[in-house]
């Protein structure tokens, strides 16, 4: 683990992309920043602009209308950047799999680095997922 990986894992700016989620996952993102879990102690903050982001937190069932926007946001994110598929919907469209307006799961639209399962994921699952992400960055990929 070199200096670069160390810095990249110590400071993570997360940007929240919601593509037709039921809002539970979005609330759960905010939950992780509250006093009990406090992700800021690992250097994780939520930013308002995708140009500042290191990580895209993608929630929701990626409906057809959102697909070009997700692609654009992914291209706008300065590299190196990572993508987290958040919740059952983000990982695989969840229960909206056979819906008329959800064409493809997230990982067929943009490259996804890690998946956080759950509907919505508990903060514990989120922290386990973040650990996976950090390991992935550390391994230098």
């Amino acid at each position: 683990m070199g200096f670069k990986e160390k810095i990249l894992t110590k400071s993570i700016y997360a940007f929240h992309v919601s593509s037709g989620s039921c809002n539970n996952c979005d609330i759960e993102i905010l939950d992780c920043l509250t006093p009990r879990f406090d992700l800021e102690r690992f250097g994780i903050v939520l930013v308002g602009s995708v140009k500042h982001a290191d990580v895209l937190l993608c929630t929701g069932s990626t409906n057809t209308l959102c697909v070009p926007r997700i692609k654009q946001l992914y291209e706008d994110m300065p590299k190196p950047g990572f993508v987290v598929a958040w919740g059952a919907c983000g990982s695989s469209r969840g229960m909206f799999k056979d819906s008329y307006n959800t064409g493809a799961p997230l990982d067929e639209i943009i490259p996804v680095d890690i998946y956080i399962p759950g509907c919505p994921p508990k903060p514990e699952a989120v922290i386990a997922g973040i650990k996976k992400l950090l390991d992935k960055v550390n391994s230098g990929k």
């Binding site: 670069k4 509250t34 800021e40 930013v47 308002g48 602009s49 140009k51 500042h52 300065p78 590299k79």
Partner: protein, 312 residues
Amino acid sequence: MKAFEYLFQFLVFPGFLFSAAVGLLAGWVDRLLTARVQWRKGPPWYQNFADVIKLLFYKETVIPAKVSKVIFLGMPLLALAGATLVSTAILVINASPKASFLGDLIVIVYLLMIPAISLMLGGFASRNPLASLGASREMKLMLSYELPFIIAVLVPVIKSGYAIKLGDIIMSQSVNGHIIGSASGAISFVVMLLCVQAKLGYAPFDIAEAETEIMAGVYIEYSGKALGIFKLVKAVMLFVLPVLMIILYFGGIASDAEGFVRNIFQYILILALIVVIKNTNPRVRVDQAMGFFWGPVTVLAMISVALAYLGW
């Protein structure tokens, strides 16, 4: 040889490296206190350093299509140069008051505006509606706080026998006692604190970069190195403005150990006041900010000038 000395003073001590390092640490104190106020644990001490190093060296800088590259990328550098010049100037003058020249206080008041102006121009240059909105808010905010700020600066000037020289203000305080001790000094200190709050862009005056309404406002299109430099500007300002207040109201940075420890406590006190104001107040609208600064705060500043004129 003189040129190298100046260059060293500007780039290393007491200029860029020193003030940025202290400012980033102060920024951590700010984040830690904020976290404690909200009953959280808060980030580790190196957090701001990690953020800035990441942005400066390891992230891509995305330049939006069709922007003027010179203005878009030049403005962060101009802001950094302005802020660093102030920190160099006030600390060099503080160390040797003879280096002070007539009107240096006016120069410093002008230089302190450069970061805000370049932020504004950078926001307008980034061709983003939210950035333009943020920049126009920044402009209105600047118009509102500059007036009481300049009036408040007059009090130390009057108190030290109409000296528009930082060196003379420091000297006269070592003879006549600190300006904060007098009634007019205390009032103008409060005015100055509110203006510093707005100059730093902290809540309740963070209208130019309101995360929840206009995302990051003027910073919205900045990424990578340019954003990192703006973070450094914020750090330098967080160092410079309280130090300027210490010089104007507490008699400057002392050279003996005891006085220096007292200075550190004064710095932390000012920082803590700023952070507590930031955490206990909701964001105001731009018209409210303007009304606040041009109304009660300016009146307060004028009262303090009148009191100083009468010798209180």
